[in-house]
């Protein structure tokens, strides 16, 4: 009897044990997600997330250090010798590669899952897809400029482990088609500040065309943004007024097109790189004072002292390298009680104006009145004048041809966007990197530095990329 009871018990237990061993996590399964608009919004948000993480600061630190108008310290100092990147520069930049591709993965997941979604109306789906296609294009635009042709991961091949490098043109084709899709399907106003709108897509597209030297189309896209009337330059009258653009407390400005938005809970980790503990510009710390320039830097030396931007952007501070050293005041947060909430300007209206000016000059083989006006708006503001009214510092069109006007615009963009991570890519784009470094430091740049190597973490595990044959030149 006992035996029978034992057997019965054992059988019962065996039967119930398959249930006992089921897992019930308190989490969302991928298979059941991407159904409702709220869920899709949360998935779309994920496409931006990795770009706003701390590790993406490497994008800034390495590219800022490459520029002729900024010197760098510590492990970045080697960049200013222009003889190649150090292992740690390269490793850190591999982290940026990873973050860009993580954003691309999350964008691809939204695109492929929305294709299967039958709940949402088509126009809503297209808007969401437009937003993630914008993010995907933004990521590939950075990838193609830093690494040239890269593996092109889309919703169609996102599960293939081994994927070869596409050509630069193929990458640009995807960027342009994604941005065009975004431009057509995104609304005028962004879903939230920090997400893409139609105008954000157009701005990036203008920059993409500029990089491709497709001047007419660049001029057209930038012109659309200007003509929309949705943006204007912030007026300044003193150097301190630039705080209205870059300040920690600024929520947004009329100049903001696409910024990475930060707040004290999710703060801007780049702030730690600019200041010194002793100067009081970033009492929250830590402070690495990684970037500086010197009074004998070519760019600095030739910059008009009356330019309010020059007065605002620099302060003298000896970090052990002599008393002609300047640190940068562009980004400060003097309230030490909370982490820095300054936003990271990715595209400002001032840049759109200068893109237009450059593209129009090239497209029309010389400055046009509109191009000169665009340049003058930026220039006037820098001297404290109303950007929209003629001023004593205006440039006159008749004095310039295509080349000299380009140089003027290029110099202005250098002043306007110093320490905004634009300069090095602009130098590369306009083939001036070698000459400018030679002029500034009398160094012949190792041209391998024009691109970063495909990260070893990619070539080691992606069998479709030969670590030697398919590597960028010089690595």
């Amino acid at each position: 009897m006992k035996k029978i009871l034992t057997i019965v018990l054992a059988v019962l237990l065996l039967d119930s044990c398959s249930k006992m061993l089921e897992e019930h996590p308190r989490a969302i399964a991928s298979e059941t997600f991407y159904k409702t608009p709220d869920e899709v919004v949360d998935a779309v948000n994920s496409a931006y997330a990795s770009l706003l993480e701390g590790g993406y600061t490497t994008y800034f630190t390495n590219l800022a250090a490459c520029a002729d108008n900024v010197y760098a310290k510590g492990s970045l100092a080697i960049i200013d010798e222009y003889q190649g990147f150090s292992t740690s520069n390269i490793t850190n930049m591999g982290g940026v590669w990873k973050q860009l591709y993580l954003a691309i993965r999350n964008a691809n997941l939204v695109i492929s899952n929305l294709a299967k979604n039958t709940n949402l109306p088509d126009d809503q789906k297209r808007q969401f897809i437009g937003e993630v296609k914008f993010v995907r294009a933004f990521c590939y635009f950075n990838l193609v400029r830093l690494w040239a042709g890269v593996p092109l991961r889309t919703e169609d091949n996102m599960d293939e482990i081994d994927l070869k490098r596409s050509s630069k043109d193929e990458v640009y084709d995807l960027i342009v088609s994604d941005l065009k899709f975004a431009e057509e399907n995104l609304p005028d106003a962004p879903r939230m500040l920090g997400t893409a709108s139609k105008w954000v897509a157009k701005t990036v597209l203008a920059d993409v065309y500029l990089t491709q030297e497709n001047w007419a189309k660049s001029m057209e896209e930038a012109g659309d943004v200007i003509a929309s009337g949705k943006f204007s330059l912030v007026k300044v009258s003193t150097p301190e007024d630039f705080e209205k653009i870059y300040g920690a407390d600024v929520l947004t400005s009329s100049e903001e097109i696409f910024y990475f938005k930060y707040n004290s809970q999710h703060s801007w980790s780049l702030m730690s790189f600019f200041h010194h503990d002793g100067d009081g510009y970033y009492p929250h710390g830590p402070n690495y004072f990684a970037f500086y320039t010197t009074s004998d830097n070519y760019f600095y030396e030739h910059w008009d002292n009356n330019d309010l931007r020059k007065q605002h952007d620099f302060y003298k501070w000896d970090i052990g390298l002599g008393d002609n050293t300047f640190l940068f005041r562009k980004y400060v947060d003097q309230d030490g009680s909370t982490p820095p909430s300054n936003d990271w300007p990715i595209y400002r209206y001032a840049e759109v104006l200068l893109i237009y000016a450059e593209a129009a000059d090239r497209a029309e083989k010389g400055p046009t009145p509109e191009a000169v006006e665009c340049l003058n708006k930026v220039h006037r503001r820098a001297y404290g004048y109303d950007p929209d009214a003629p001023s004593p510092v205006d440039f006159n069109m008749v004095n310039y041809n295509e080349e000299s006007f380009f140089n003027l615009v290029f110099r202005e963009k250098g002043y306007e966007t110093i320490l905004e991570c634009k300069r090095w890519l602009d130098l590369l784009r306009t083939h001036q990197a070698a000459s400018m470094i030679k002029k500034t430091l009398n160094i012949d740049v190792d041209t391998a530095m024009y691109l970063f190597p495909i990260p070893i973490t990619e070539t080691d595990f992606n069998k479709a990329i030969d670590p030697v044959k398919d590597q960028n030149p010089g690595y």
């Binding site: 054992a10 044990c17 006992m20 061993l21 897992e23 996590p25 989490a27 969302i28 399964a29 991928s30 997600f33 949360d42 998935a43 948000n45 994920s46 931006y48 997330a49 706003l52 510590g74 292992t87 740690s88 591999g94 590669w97 990873k98 591709y101 993580l102 993965r105 997941l109 890269v150 593996p151 991961r153 996102m158 482990i161 994927l163 879903r191 939230m192 920090g194 938005k261 930060y262 707040n263 004290s264 809970q265 999710h266 010194h276 503990d277 002793g278 009492p283 929250h284 402070n287 690495y288 004072f289 052990g320 030490g336 009680s337 909370t338 973490t457 990619e458 080691d460 595990f461 990329i465």
Partner: protein
């Protein structure tokens, strides 16, 4: 009742005396029920049966009981008392039970003295008897009750009373006394006319009959077929340690214990016979009183014994939890008899074992002048300035202190034949040698057993522990900054504010913190309330069969509070709190059956067990406080809050297991076991794993051909094979789950959901097969015992993280591909070298383990973590097929170039130094590890020492790389940099030129020999003669002084070779020293009392 005076009962008494010796073999754990049905049986035979079945021996004098009287009996599972009461009923007798002795007396009897009739007859012939009295104690001074004391060659005898005293009347004052007691060696003492004879008994040399705890049961040590080490609780509490695992270091062959840092309560890494898993834990399974538990709950003084199961035939019964070995801890149990009180107290003072020889202020200024000279062409410090600097500040003195440790424990135990209990309380308080670090534990424990009836018994165990840990100072930044800070300035400015060490000089670093501020203004306090309670009901329906149903709850509530005050530089106050609750439920249902048929001994065990583990966590933090008063206790008053987090995790393990032990003629032993484990963590269809094992042992000394070989007392050969597993993955690992996070838009945070960075996949169990060949030998009456084992462990279906190209958006996935092998040799030796006035016992153990990675996914190497030391940004450890696990991989140092910069070997001769020039540069796995103990006793003095060490392991000293090669950033360095850096005059210097060019790589010149030999503990103890001091109520009192880490022989240049900064249960980053909290040297005084 006709009384028949004959010699028969006299013989019976002699027989009884002999049986004392036999009874040595009887264990206290034996069943206490009697089964006897007989008619017309003599009382003497009833008592004989009683002794056979229970081990209880009945003492009586034939003048009070005629044992040839015949009775009818019918006992079924009767208790001892039941039997005795039945026999003596109506005879005017009473009885007392002491341990396993039952003394029958007349109700008016005064003493327990046993007198034979024969002696009584002689009384008439020789009128003068002399009364001999004395006290019997154990070596540790415990008064022994129930020791049988007899006159040699006669049937005179008595047993000691509760105070350990005996008295015996004898005529022959030149004879000798024979003493015997369960578990102790018998002893013969010549009377030599003395009337007072105190005797000390020693525990049996032969512990072969001792019962050891194996998985789900107990076994006689001599019957083991697997590889198992036993450690006595006393050895573990030899000196104060925060952790039981720590106390295990060097005590047992095959067990490699490493501390990650020297901080009180810091992590301990335990490896039994090597590393088996990459993905899963490599820590052994800890079983406390039958159930899985965290060893931190215990004070070493709670422990009766510890068994370490090493080979698969011993661990396979734990199936999927057994691959890393099993450590079974038995806490103290009560014994029937006099209530015993024990008190241990000790007080220690510790200080850092070694300070580093850093530059003083003058040297610092000299070095940075050299630096300024090479980078700026001028001196930075003027000669006048240098003159005024002197020695300056030694920042190590500002963080280190002499730190006291207090350790007290109190135990009380006792009981009667039916119920026994043991209760203990302990308090341990260790202040760390770095300021603002400490560890405190309060423990309470009780265990109780009760026989409800002859068939049912119940036992209950509870352990409570409160642990308060303050690891604030166990921090890389603090230790690094204390070494880095310039010796030219102190921690405070003139106005009392903390000095910012990053701005002292233009060349000052950008990442040091002020150690004084850190110690005073930061705190990280943790506590854990641990409770473990279990209840078992044992049912013994018939002889040999027992059913045990037991349940256990282990609950842990942990909380961690971190606060940085507003006075900390650049701080507006920040607080964070996290709380974790975990609950572990177990149900064990075990059936055991033992049977002896002729020469066949069979024991079978089967069990059904269920485990469920749930953990929930919560964390919250905020910053910006207007006052430091509230610390972490008013988070709501913060200016800004971080996103709070909660988490939940649960797993279930359902197991069926069985084991059969079979022995033939106590000569041939067989063990077979099987376990089936179902885990919730694996994918459907892969949830169940099956773990069989088998082992054979042959006691060859029992064979006839060994009869003549007297010097080998015991010999056994063991061979075992078995399969164990590892769950290796966390719950929900095979499921495709989304993770949430926050991303800022507008000026707020918005939620996002996305997959993690690991691509989930279908996974099955990781399994380890182990073959063990062992030899146990005992020589010269087991005065020398050797245990040696050779093993091969192969882990296959190794869960192996497989790197994915980062462009796919996932970092890695996990696959069941991979093999690791561990082979090795364990050797243990115990010897009683001298046993006269001077006694010397020694013990030694030695373990060799070789491991090798046999197969990885697609031959893909697995790199350790990339460490960014600024001067080096690289990984150090690598797993590669055919190589030892976690070996160091890097560049080969090739001297200094003509500018004083490091050059490295171009291994592939391609003209450039690149990744391709990396090679194997070191191995963190020791060639062997060892431990050695010696116990010496002379009169009341005892000297004991314990040596432990490792040989042939390498340490990669990140601390040294970071400290001595960043002079361009104003770091203080060790003084040898000042004296031995490159210059034109010193081209073959140890350190490169003092300039701002970094030429360091992850290379073999930073790999150091980590071998050491350490005098871990040396202790001198003195037994106070309490009786002579008039403190009769004290049974024993031992006072001792001891020293910990008094002597260390090593070539390792940094703080301490006992270091593994990045260790952990599945870390492949082994053998790295990265500013780990240094080890301490300590002095202890203590006292042990029992009464």
């Amino acid at each position: 009742m006709g009384r028949k005076k004959s010699t028969i009962w006299g013989l019976a008494a002699i027989f009884l005396l002999f049986s004392f010796v036999q009874v040595n073999a009887c264990s206290l754990q034996d069943s206490v029920s009697v089964n006897l049905q007989a008619k017309h049986i003599t009382i003497a035979n009833v008592f004989k049966t009683l002794q056979q079945q229970t081990g209880f021996i009945v003492f009586y004098n034939n003048d009070i009981l005629n044992d040839q009287q015949r009775v009818d009996v019918n006992f079924m599972h009767a208790g001892v008392r039941q039997v005795i009461n039945y026999i003596i009923s109506g005879q005017g007798l009473t009885y007392t039970i002491k341990d396993r002795f039952i003394l029958l007396q007349r109700k008016s009897a005064e003493t327990g003295q046993l007198k034979t009739d024969l002696a009584a007859v002689k009384v008439a012939d020789i009128p003068v008897d002399t009364l001999i009295t004395g006290v019997v104690k154990s070596e540790s001074g415990v008064l022994l009750a129930g020791v049988s004391v007899g006159l040699k060659g006669s049937s005179l005898g008595t047993i000691t009373d509760e105070d350990g005293t005996y008295s015996l009347r004898v005529q022959d004052m030149q004879g000798s006394l024979m003493l015997s007691y369960v578990g102790y060696d018998g002893k013969e003492v010549s009377i030599k006319g003395r009337q007072r004879i105190d005797v000390v008994l020693k525990p049996s040399v032969s512990s072969l009959n001792q019962l050891v705890v194996v998985g789900y049961g107990t076994q006689k040590k001599s019957d083991l077929t697997g590889s198992l080490s036993s450690i006595d609780g006393k050895a573990l509490s030899a000196f104060p340690t925060t952790n039981v695992a720590r106390a295990l270091e060097g005590r047992s062959a095959g067990v490699y214990v490493q501390q990650n840092s020297g901080a009180p309560g810091s992590g301990i890494q335990v490896r039994i016979r090597g590393t088996n898993s990459i993905q899963g834990s490599n820590e052994p399974l800890w079983i406390i009183d039958g159930f899985p538990a965290d060893p931190n709950i215990l004070n070493p003084s709670d422990i009766e014994s510890m068994e370490i199961l090493k080979d698969a035939s011993a661990t396979a019964i734990y199936g999927s939890r057994g691959a890393n070995g099993v450590i079974i801890v038995t806490t103290k149990r009560g014994k029937a008899g006099k209530t015993l009180f024990e008190f241990n107290g000790s007080y220690s003072v510790q200080r850092v074992r070694k300070k580093l020889d850093m530059m003083n202020a003058t040297q610092y200024a000299g070095l940075y002048n050299a630096f300024w000279e090479s980078t700026h062409g001028v001196d930075y410090f003027s000669q006048d300035q240098i003159q005024s600097l002197g020695k300056g500040v030694d920042w190590q003195d500002l963080i280190f202190r002499n730190a006291p440790t207090q350790n007290y424990s109190f135990n009380v135990s006792g009981g009667n034949a039916k119920s026994q209990f043991s209760a203990g309380a302990s308090y341990f308080d260790q202040q760390g040698i770095v300021k603002n670090s400490d560890y405190r534990r309060i423990g309470m424990r009780i265990s109780a057993n009760h026989d409800i009836s002859d068939k049912f018994s119940v036992s209950y165990n509870v352990i409570l522990a409160r642990v308060d840990n303050n690891p604030t100072a166990d921090n890389l930044d603090l230790l690094f900054s204390a070494l880095t800070a310039p010796p030219t300035v102190g921690p405070y400015l003139n106005d009392g504010e903390y000095r910012n060490l990053n701005t002292v000089y233009p060349f000052s670093p950008d990442n040091t913190i002020n150690p004084a501020a850190y110690i005073k203004e930061k705190s990280n306090k943790q506590f854990a309330n641990n409770e473990m309670a279990n209840l078992s009901l044992i049912y013994t329906p018939i002889e040999g069969l027992s059913l045990k149903v037991s349940g256990n709850i282990s609950n842990t509530d942990q909380r961690s509070d971190s606060y940085t005050s507003t006075k900390y530089p650049n701080s507006s106050g920040s607080a964070s709190v996290s709380a974790v609750n975990s609950i572990h439920l177990n149900s064990d249902n075990i059936i055991t059956y033992t049977k002896r048929i002729n020469k066949n001994d069979i024991s079978a065990t089967a069990a059904l067990t269920y485990e469920n583990f749930t953990t929930k966590a919560l964390n919250a933090s905020g910053s910006g406080f207007i006052t430091d008063v509230t610390e972490t206790d008013n988070l709501g008053s913060a200016n800004t809050f971080a996103t709070p987090g909660t988490s939940y995790s649960n797993w279930t393990l359902l197991s069926y297991l069985g084991r059969i032990n079979y022995a033939y003629a106590d000569k041939y032993l067989v063990t077979v076991s099987f376990r089936a484990d179902g885990s919730s963590r694996y994918s459907k269809g892969n949830k169940w794993g099956y773990f069989p094992s088998g082992a054979l042992a042959w006691k060859f000394t029992k064979e006839d051909f060994m009869k003549g070989v007297n010097w080998i007392t015991d010999g056994k050969i063991r061979v075992g094979y078995g399969l164990t597993g590892s769950t290796a993955i966390d719950p929900y690992y095979t499921l495709n789950m989304l993770q949430s996070g926050k991303v800022p838009f507008n000026n707020d945070l918005y939620t996002y959901f996305a997959p993690g960075t690991r691509l989930p996949g279908n996974l099955k169990w990781e399994s380890t097969t182990q073959t063990d060949i062992g030899l146990d030998l005992g020589f010269f009456d087991n005065r020398i015992r050797i245990m040696a084992d050779y093993y091969i462990k192969n882990t296959s279906d190794l869960l192996n993280p497989v790197q994915l190209p980062q462009s796919i958006g996932y970092d890695y996935t996990v696959r069941n591909v991979g093999k690791i092998q561990n082979r090795g040799f364990d050797f243990e030796l115990d010897a009683k070298l001298l046993d006269r006035n001077l006694k010397v016992d020694v013990g030694a153990n030695l373990s060799l383990n070789r491991n090798k990675v046999l197969k990885l996914y697609g031959n893909q190497d697995i790199q350790g973590t990339v460490y960014n030391l600024i001067v080096i940004n690289d990984y150090a450890n690598l797993l590669q097929e055919g190589k030892p696990i976690s070996a160091f991989y890097g560049y080969k140092f090739n001297g200094l170039d003509d500018q004083g910069h490091y050059v490295y070997k171009d291994m592939n001769n391609d003209g450039v130094i690149s990744e391709a020039d990396k090679t194997w540069i070191g191995n963190p796995n020791p060639k062997f590890i060892y431990g050695f103990t010696a116990d010496m006793q002379w009169k009341s003095f005892k000297l004991n020492f314990f040596i432990q060490g490792t040989q042939g392991n390498d340490i990669l000293c990140f601390s040294l790389i970071n400290q001595n090669y960043r002079y361009y950033q104003g770091f203080n360095t060790t003084a040898d940099v000042f004296y031995d850096h490159w210059s034109k005059d010193n081209p073959s210097a140890k350190y490169p030129a003092i300039d701002n060019i970094l030429s360091t790589k992850m290379a073999d010149n930073f790999v150091y020999n980590g071998s050491y030999l350490r005098l871990k503990n040396v202790q001198l103890a003195y037994d106070l003669p309490t009786a002579e001091m008039g403190l009769k109520w004290i049974g024993a009192c031992e006072a001792y002084i001891s020293a910990q880490n008094l002597l260390t022989l090593t070539k390792y240049p940094w703080w301490d070779p006992e270091v593994n900064s990045k260790g952990g249960d599945n870390s492949i980053n082994q053998g790295i020293d990265y500013y780990s909290y240094p080890s301490a040297k300590g002095f202890t005084i203590g006292i042990k009392l029992s009464f």
